[in-house]
Symmetry: C2
Subunit: 256 residues, 2 copies
């Protein structure tokens, strides 16, 4: 099945598999990793030693953790040709929104079928969630996600949908593919999306797409607790704000 296997460095694959595992299991140990990854302890040990020596992991007693150098690389990724304009424009506008509304706002970027938290800021009325910088989210379970899907060509949507399992996050999560397609159609027409507790109980979102070219699709969203998610504020004010600012970001991304 693998079409693009060609000549690849297998040990790099296992190195990153280990890194990812260490990242998700903060404080993982040698035996633990060897067990869950199905590799010998000596192999895992050699990798951990190398990565620790280079500073990409660090070790407390016998537990390993991902190190701050990844923050350096992440910052570099955001300053990349493709993303730096989006970063500047989004940062400025999001900070504005936060000042205005006091809520939390963020930009999520589509990257290889997933959404990655690209920049976020919180206001004085902010609600705490698990999502922070770099967190990756599946595209079906959030307002941002569905917004992104709504501006992608149909074949890519299908491709992404078929690769994801539509795991429900709350009782409101849409898990039916047809219903999802329908909703995406609605979003295409009106230009923005709602998330009413589909990912986290008590948390709602309004999101609008940001198109910075065929390869750089993002989404701007404002997050509010359910208690403020009603009335004119949630039905009129926020959608208008979000769609307008999204367009501003698009424009500022083009010419700078």
């Amino acid at each position: 099945m693998g079409s693009t296997d060609r000549k690849q460095i297998k040990s790099t694959r296992t190195a990153f598999t280990i890194i990812e595992r260490v990242s998700s299991t903060d404080g993982a140990t040698v035996s633990e990793l060897a067990e869950t990854l199905g590799r010998s302890k000596s192999t895992v040990h050699a990798h951990l030693q190398t990565l620790t020596e280079m500073g990409y992991l660090f070790r407390i007693d016998d537990e390993y953790h991902v190190g701050l150098p990844f923050l350096t690389l992440g910052g570099a990724a955001r300053s990349t040709d493709r993303y730096q304009n989006l970063y500047r424009a989004a940062k400025a506008e999001i900070d504005d929104i936060v000042d205005q509304t006091g809520e939390r706002a963020q930009v999520v970027v589509e990257y290889q079928g997933e959404g990655i938290y690209f920049y976020q800021s919180r206001g004085h009325r902010y609600v705490q969630t698990d999502s922070q910088l770099g967190t990756s989210v599946s595209l079906h379970s959030t307002a941002v996600g569905k917004t992104i899907l709504s501006v992608l060509p149909d074949d890519r949507v299908e491709e992404i949908l078929s690769n994801s399992e539509l795991r429900p996050r709350t009782e409101h999560t849409v898990v039916d593919r047809d219903e999802l397609r329908e909703r995406i159609e609605t979003i295409r027409e009106r230009g923005y999306a709602y998330d009413r507790e589909e990912r986290i109980e008590g948390i709602c979102c309004v999101a609008a797409p940001i198109e910075c070219g065929p390869e750089t699709i993002a989404s701007l969203s404002v997050t509010v607790p359910t208690k403020r998610a009603s009335g004119e504020y949630f039905e009129e004010e926020l959608p208008t704000l979000v769609t307008n600012v999204a367009r501003v970001i698009e424009l500022n991304t083009q010419y700078s």
Copy 2:
């Protein structure tokens, strides 16, 4: 000299060497990398192919860039046991400082002899610099850096100083080791540090150390343009603010 060579994965070393090079030379090509790293084109090609396939790099035409997954790992690093308390405490306090002063404020963490921008925020009077999330800075050329050195034990200071070349950044950068030691002594006594255009022309800083345990040393700093770097504001107000808030962060880091 190499004491800790043992069994290590060489190909992972070259993989990360390539990643780092791609990160610093945004849009690097195969031949370019092969040239500067002294490796064959085919080797570099195999690595790039692997890393691209895994999503850690992405490719536009024949140019490679670091990808957003590093942001995910970087975010995970910041949420690590060692750093998450510091992150929460620092974020809250820094945002406060920014609201109060309108300047730019940041926390830099010591990581293996370097300083890494851990969190930063800017106010309405902010000044733009090259430094942003994840940027690593040498410890001798900044207020934050010298502050960090001031709370490290002497032997570690000497170790770090001997491993760095004290490259001057502006005409005000301190390059003499003895003078640096002297200044560090001064900082130890009064508890905060100044940077008067030592790293960037026109940019000054006030910084105070944050000690969250022997292994987690950081520094809080406020950045102002030279035109505001004088008088009571710069000589009294900011030092007091910075040292007080640093202590608050220390406390909040301990108990949470």
